[in-house]
């Protein structure tokens, strides 16, 4: 029994404090909400913010402050949805690079939304949501099928490549539809950059049921995803219905990112970055990973939106641009450090 003496390879003991990190993430989200309401392109003093939100008032300053409430709600919702979608897609594909953006799901949603705007004449959230979800689901199914071809099944790298190719193809189709149609372009270009600035509570409510179903599917499959992480054979051996779990979890992920994309346009990297950061502290148990990621994603997107409103006053920088700037370095870090990618 030479092995029982700890060899040099065994690292330090790991202790996790998931409850503590949940509290931290919740505090971060609440802090982000406070900042998002206090700061914007219009400079407003804190007493004025208090006046507008708590006491009420009908001057321009109060109206400007109150207009920050729906966009803050939307940023919270979209951030939480994208982060959970990222957790689900990474769990389903056992792929550290999985993210709605990298797997081409956002570009699928974009293309179908453009088709809807250009050929079907949709111009409301009730229309966007169905087109976005259809495109998201089709792109997800296509990328997974192509990424599974050949030896070794759906490896992380093959899925990422299939996603990149699909994104390139769908994006050029989208461009081909848009270029000759200026009026479609004008509707589309605000949507595609990824913004929460035109938030309407009405739109948010339209999409809520889809997000609710997505969250329910997350809760339902969380412990199944923990077992899928051990490989399909081991999961089946432990009594997990592998195909059903994967299908339900993928549906949940696609619903969440499709709904978020319909609301705010394609926003990249939140779904990639947040689960990785959260996994570092709470581990790989999806029952903690999902809620803590949701809170962290909500906090991150709300902060990114606030930063976008403040850095280039009086202009605003769309939140999708901020997250891309933030996410690209993290993506490179993941590729360089995660052993799963080399396999």
């Amino acid at each position: 029994m030479i092995e029982t003496a700890a060899p040099p390879t065994a690292g330090a003991a790991v202790t996790r404090r998931p409850r503590w990190w949940t509290a931290v993430a919740l505090a971060a989200a609440l802090g982000a909400v406070a900042l998002s309401i206090a700061f914007g392109s219009r400079v407003v003093s804190l007493p004025e913010v208090w006046q507008a939100i708590v006491v009420g008032g009908d001057d321009i300053t109060a109206a400007a402050v109150r207009s920050r409430v729906p966009r803050t709600l939307l940023a919270l919702l979209v951030g939480a949805s994208l982060a959970m979608a990222g957790v689900m897609l990474q769990g389903v594909t056992r792929n550290p690079l999985a993210d709605p953006y990298i797997l081409g799901i956002n570009s699928g949603a974009s293309l179908t939304v453009v088709i809807g705007i250009a050929f079907v004449g949709i111009h409301s959230m009730q229309g966007y949501i169905w087109f976005a979800l259809t495109g998201a689901a089709l792109a997800a199914a296509f990328v997974y099928t192509v990424g599974s071809l050949g030896r070794g099944g759906p490896t992380p790298l093959k899925l990422a490549l299939a996603g990149a190719i699909t994104t390139a193809a769908l994006t050029s189709l989208t461009t081909a539809i848009l270029l000759p149609r200026m009026e479609v372009m004008n509707v589309y270009r605000f949507w595609v950059v990824g913004g929460v600035g035109r938030a309407e509570n009405h739109d948010t409510l339209t999409v809520m049921p889809f997000i609710a179903v997505g969250v329910a599917l997350c809760a339902l499959t969380a412990s199944g995803l923990n077992l899928l992480g051990l490989g399909d054979d081991a999961a089946a051996g432990l009594g997990v219905p592998v195909v059903r779990t994967r299908l339900l979890a993928a549906t949940g992920g696609v619903l969440l990112c499709g709904a978020a994309t319909a609301l705010a346009g394609p926003i990249g990297f939140v779904g990639l970055v947040v689960p990785h950061l959260v996994r570092l502290v709470v581990g790989s148990d999806h029952r903690w990973l999902l809620p803590v990621s949701a809170l962290t994603g909500a906090a991150l997107l709300t902060l990114a939106d606030t930063v976008g409103r403040v850095v280039a006053r009086p202009q605003e920088i769309e939140v999708g641009i901020i997250t891309a700037l933030l996410g690209a370095p993290v993506f490179i870090w993941v590729v360089l450090t995660r052993t799963g990618v080399r396999a």
């Binding site: 029994m1 030479i2 092995e3 029982t4 700890a6 060899p7 390879t9 065994a10 690292g11 330090a12 003991a13 790991v14 202790t15 056992r94 550290p96 339902l220 412990s223 923990n226 077992l227 992480g229 051990l230 490989g231 054979d233 081991a234 089946a236 051996g237 432990l238 009594g239 997990v240 219905p241 996994r279 570092l280 581990g283 790989s284 148990d285 995660r338 052993t339 799963g340």
Partner: protein
């Protein structure tokens, strides 16, 4: 310990090509069965079929007399455990967290974790000698330690039957013997019925109560190691000329392959 696992005229494979054909096998309850055969002979496919990972094209797999594919998968998982050839440890998972997954078939959805389950997990860690490593990250362990952690997971599952697909692959000889000794301990102390695919014929013969040689998807020979590991079987199943002698340490048969070189001609 009464759970029985048998196959009845089992035919299965991948796509249209059958890998196992018309194979009938009963695992002796409370015993260790080792399954040997050449590469691609169907031994791993047979094990996957018995673990319900592959559907039968024809024939049946019976767990306590009931068709395994007609039973809820979680119910099967309470009686039949499986250690696949290359299971994956999720990045960053600790030994205790991994072994705790073995409790899944016994838990209801959204049920709270109980102290009783902690005790079962601790017992599994203790029995496999990895209790000291409970809070370590699985990725950082050595191959031998990792394999014992996976066996601990199977123990926490508390099944009466345990199937293992090449549990000693990638281990050096010391750790191979250690893993097989551990499995024998489990069999003797808990009465667990064990069936495993092994590559090393000498170890397979030594640790077997019952030995099965698979050839072209059917059973070429089965029974006691002395009956199965013969010069004739090795010639047919592996296409290898060999001498079989008595292993002086265990009294079991032991093969000495006859290659084209380094053989003394007296």
């Amino acid at each position: 310990m009464t759970t029985s696992l048998t196959t009845e005229s089992l035919t299965l494979g991948y796509g249209t090509r059958p890998v196992v054909t018309d194979l009938t096998l009963t695992l002796p309850t409370g015993r260790i069965t080792t399954i040997v055969g050449a590469n691609a002979c169907g031994k791993s496919t047979l094990l996957r079929g018995m673990a319900r990972l592959l559907p039968a094209d024809s024939g049946r797999v019976l767990l306590d007399g009931a068709d395994i594919h007609a039973m809820p998968t979680k119910q099967v998982a309470r009686r039949l455990g499986l250690l696949p050839q290359s299971p994956i440890a999720p990045e960053g998972i600790t030994v205790a967290e991994l072994v705790a997954q073995g409790r899944h078939p016994h838990r209801r959805a959204f049920a709270r974790w109980t102290p009783g389950e902690d005790a079962i997990v601790a017992d599994a860690l203790e029995a496999t000698g990895v209790l000291d490593l409970a809070d370590r990250v699985v990725d950082e362990l050595s191959g031998g330690q990792r394999q014992r952690v996976w066996i601990a997971l199977a123990l926490a599952q508390q099944t009466e039957v345990l199937l293992l697909d090449e549990p000693t692959t990638y281990l050096d000889v010391c750790h191979q013997v250690e893993v097989l000794d551990l499995l024998t301990d489990l069999n003797r102390s808990r009465g667990t019925t064990i069936a495993m695919v092994l590559h090393d014929l000498n170890l397979a013969a030594r640790y077997a109560d019952h030995m099965v040689a698979v050839h072209h998807g059917t059973i070429h020979a089965c029974g006691r190691a002395e009956e199965v590991l013969t010069e004739e079987t090795v010639k047919v199943v592996f296409g290898l000329d060999a001498r079989v002698v008595e292993d002086p340490t265990s009294g079991r048969p032991m093969i000495l392959p006859l290659g084209r070189h380094h053989v003394r001609h007296d």
